[in-house]
């Protein structure tokens, strides 16, 4: 069908600015549903087609054309600059706490991490991964932080609900704990 061709042209031209299904629908005089349907089929076919070097990906409500992940090494070889630095452990921990609990204050993040978190928060703000999202209804009215669209982009998530589930401590560990308890008592007695 010709629709795919037009959408590919539009996505190609938009580059990393991306397009929403709504924008495409308006230009093509189709319904948003029709466009979404075509986009979803394109996401699949591009990925499967071995001849293709691009994929259609989405994050938030934006669709974009990108290069295929498996060809990354070749592009890197041609690149002038090394890839941007990935985040430090401190920044990643902070980001995880904010992502799963947003909106959240710095103090709440610090309570979980057990350390000061001013710098990681500044880094994440500077990277555009988190932003201020109002003030908490608490003494001092501390700033609340939430993740941004850029966060979804940087971690290839369609939406916040796409985050991998947080693993709660499992029952197996609890059992193990009970087992250990007895031995601990013994050890103390020595």
């Amino acid at each position: 069908m010709k629709h795919e061709s037009i959408i590919e042209s539009l996505l190609f031209a938009a580059g990393d600015e991306g397009l929403t299904a709504g924008q495409i629908a308006e230009v093509m005089e189709l319904t948003v549903q029709e466009v979404q349907h075509i986009l979803q089929s394109m996401e699949r076919t591009f990925k499967q087609d071995e001849m293709r070097g691009t994929v259609v990906t989405s994050f938030g409500d934006e669709y974009r054309m990108m290069t295929k992940g498996e060809n990354a090494a070749f592009i890197q070889r041609l690149a002038e600059k090394p890839s941007p630095k990935t985040l430090s452990q401190a920044a990643l921990e902070t980001l995880a706490i904010i992502a799963y609990n947003q909106p959240v204050t710095r103090i709440e993040v610090e309570e979980i991490r057990g350390v000061k978190t001013e710098r990681p928060i500044a880094t994440l703000c500077a990277r555009g991964l988190i932003e201020e999202a109002g003030r908490a209804d608490a003494p001092g009215r501390p700033i609340l932080y939430a993740t941004t669209n850029e966060f979804l982009d940087a971690f290839q998530l369609k939406s916040i609900t796409d985050l991998p589930p947080l693993e709660e401590s499992d029952g197996a560990m609890q059992q193990e704990a009970d087992l250990f308890f007895g031995r601990f008592e013994e050890a103390l007695e020595d």
Binding site: T67, E80, T86, E150, Q156
Partner: protein, 242 residues
């Protein structure tokens, strides 16, 4: 005791405790307070001996652990009471905090994997023709939008520019440049400011021009004058008029 320390940086007292618990192969819900406190203090003391800036959080945790340890070592004189006064084991509170922290530490690891995957995908800049002419109306963007846009750009790959068919510049020689300078000075009625003799900022051009001027001075073909310290240098034709 044989004790291998992984060379690593810790993200705070909870992270250090998790590490020690892993090393000692003990369970978070059943921490041998005495052992863990000793190990923990060993770290913190070493940090202090090395005069490293020990974050206060480490010291707070040290105090908490010492308090827990001394409590656990007290003779248990309240055996009968224990049945009705169910005091919370402080170890439970610590275990809860450790588990909570561990949950996010692991989530951070998964985020890192996603981040790595993402660095393998590249986009291209938007086509110039799409550059909006309708950027009007009240400015409704935040600092975060700007920083986000900047990050997007840094993830784009800047590929090495293909070698362009460039017109080779004529080979420069000091001699040629001397003749050019002499001609330039002869045509100018007035002395020329030294800086203005360099019409290119290419490194090799600068060097050749400078050598040419030195050579001309040596041969008395030009006169260089200066009104005072740090004033501009002026170059004029002349000197050797013979």
């Amino acid at each position: 005791m044989e004790y291998k320390v992984k060379i690593d940086s810790f993200e705070g007292p909870l992270d250090l405790l998790l590490h020690l618990i892993g090393q000692l192969e003990i369970d978070i819900y059943d921490i041998p307070v005495s052992e863990i406190t000793n190990q923990y203090l060993l770290y913190v003391n070493t940090m202090q001996q090395l005069e490293l800036d020990v974050a206060s959080e480490y010291l707070v945790m040290a105090a908490t652990l010492i308090a827990m340890k001394s409590r656990s070592l007290l003779p248990d004189h309240s055996e009968e009471e224990e049945d009705f006064v169910e005091e919370e084991d402080p170890r439970e509170e610590l275990a809860r905090r450790l588990m909570e922290y561990k949950k996010y530490k692991e989530a951070a690891g998964r985020l890192h994997e996603l981040e790595e995957e993402r660095t393998k995908l590249f986009s291209r800049p938007p086509a110039d023709q799409l550059f909006g002419s309708n950027e009007e109306g009240p400015l409704n963007v935040s600092l975060f939008d700007m920083l986000g846009a900047f990050q997007k750009m840094t993830r784009r790959k800047k590929l090495a520019v293909p070698p362009r068919a460039t017109v080779r510049r004529e080979e420069l020689s000091v001699e040629k440049r001397m003749n050019l300078l002499k001609e330039k000075l002869r045509l100018s009625k007035e002395p020329i400011r030294f800086d203005d003799l360099f019409d290119s900022h290419e490194r090799d051009e600068l060097v050749v021009s400078f050598l040419a001027i030195l050579e001309l001075m040596k041969q008395n073909e030009i006169v260089v004058s200066q009104k005072g310290n740090f004033a501009d240098l002026y170059v004029a034709a002349g000197g050797n008029q013979t």
